[in-house]
C-alpha cells in the first residue's frame, strides 16, 4: 500500500468555526486542539481524500485573491504539520499485484 497525494481530514476531528472565520480543530480522542485561519479552514474542508494537494492549492488560489506565490509550499507544510499531529491522513493506494501464478 502506498500513500497517495490526496490528504484526508481525520473524521474524528471536530472543526469549530468561529464568527471571525477562524476555527479550532479539536481531536476528542487526545483533547488536542489547534487554531487555524480562514485559509486553513478552506483547506480543511477540501481534504476529502478525493482532491490531490495540487488540486486543493489551485482551488485556494482561485478562492483567495491574495494567495502567495509560494502557496503550494506553504499549504504542503501546513498539511504536513497537521498530518504529523494526527489531524490529517492520506488516502492509500493498493499497489499489490494480486495475480497468482
Amino acid at each position: 500500500m502506498n500513500r497517495t497525494d490526496r490528504p484526508i481530514a481525520n473524521p474524528i476531528v471536530v472543526l469549530r468555526e468561529e464568527f471571525d472565520d477562524w476555527a479550532v480543530l479539536f481531536n476528542p480522542d487526545t483533547a488536542a486542539a489547534v487554531g487555524i485561519n480562514p485559509v486553513g479552514v478552506a483547506i480543511w474542508k477540501r481534504m476529502d481524500g478525493k482532491r490531490s494537494l495540487k488540486e486543493i492549492v489551485l482551488e485556494i488560489k482561485t478562492s483567495f485573491e491574495d494567495a502567495p506565490e509560494a502557496a503550494l509550499e506553504e499549504i504542503t507544510a501546513f498539511v504536513d504539520k497537521l498530518a504529523e499531529h494526527g489531524y490529517v491522513g492520506y488516502e492509500l493506494k493498493d499497489d499489490t499485484d494480486h495475480r497468482t501464478i
Binding site: L15, R16, E18, F19, P28, A31
Partner: protein
Amino acid sequence: MLMRTPRTVDIEITARCNLRCRYCYFFNNPAVVYRDLPADEWLKFFDELESLGVMNVTMAGGEPFIRDDLPALLEGLVRNRMRFSLLSNGALIDDEIAAFIASTRRCEYVQVSVDGSCAQTHDSCRGKGSFDRAIRGIRTLQRHRVNAAVRVTIHRNNVNDLENIAHLLLEELDLPGFSTNSAGYLGTCRLNAADVLLNRQERQVAMATLLRLTQKYNGRISASAGPLSEGRMWRRMQEAWAQGAPAFPNGGRLTACGCPSSKIAVRADGAIVPCNMLAHMELGRINQDRLLEVWQHSSALNQLRRRHTTPLTEFEFCAGCSYTPYCTGNCPGLAYTLTGKVDHPSPDACLRRFLEEGGTIV
C-alpha cells in the same frame, strides 16, 4: 469574546440523588422542575451538540451515577465526538462503570466531593457512610486510571479540618491537586444557612489556611470561587488600592462571570439555562428550541452577556467604595439568590463589607 456556538455544555443529567447534603445548591430551588428526561431525549440532543462542534459536556445532577443508562449516555457523547466530565459524590462508582469510563478514552475527569479528612467531618453534612463511599469511589477511579478530581466545599463543620483534608488528598490519596469552594446561599443551603455557611471569622480562617496550604503544596490547591479565590483576589485588590494603581482591566463593572460567552447549561428536565447557578432563567427547551438559536439570539442570554458593561458605580450597594476599580461584582447566581437581581454585584463577595465586619486580609 462570544463564541459562535457553545464550547462546553453543563448538563444536569438527573434530578435524582442518593444523598441529601445540607448545603446542596441543586435541591430546594423553587424555580426548578425535578424531573428526569429519558435517554433518547438526551441522545437526540447530543446529536445536535455534535452539529454545533461542542467540545465538552459536564454531567452533574443530582448524582449522575444514579442513572442506570449512564453508559449509553456517555456512548452518545463519544459517538458525537465530544469529551466529558462527571461531577459526583463518588458513592455509586464501582469497578464496572469506572472500567467503562476508562474504555471511552474521552473522560476529562470525574470529580468527587470530599468535605472532610474523616467520616465525622464529611458525613456531618452529607450523611452517614458517605465519606467511606466517596474515598472508595476515588480509589476505584484511580485503579482504572480515570482522572479523579476532588472538590472540597468548605463549611462551618470542616473549616478547621482543612490541613488534614489536604494531607488526605495530596499525600495519602496522592492526587495531583484538588479544588475548593464554599457553601453558597443557594438551594438547600438556604434552609440550613445558619448551620453551614461560613461566618466572617470562619471565612478568614479558611482564607488564611488555604493560602498557607497552597504554598506548602506548591499550588496543588486551586479555586475559582470561595475563600481561596477570594483571599487571593482581595489581597490583590487591597494592594492595588494601597498603591493607587489604575483600575484592573476587568474591574469597575459587572464583568463576572464570562461563562455565558463559551458555555451554557441544561437542567434535568431539559430546560436550557445560562448556568446551573441561574436555573430560574429558562431560555428554551432541548429538542424543541434549536440550541444555536438560543445561543445566538436569546434576548435574556444576550442581556446577561451585556452585564459586563454595567459600571459598579451605578449601584447604591457600591456607593463610596474605594475598591470598585478592582472589583468584578462576582457571581451573578449568588447576586440573584441574595438580592433577587441578576444585574447586581454579589454582596457575598464584597471586600468592603468583609472589612467593615472586622475581617482582615492576610
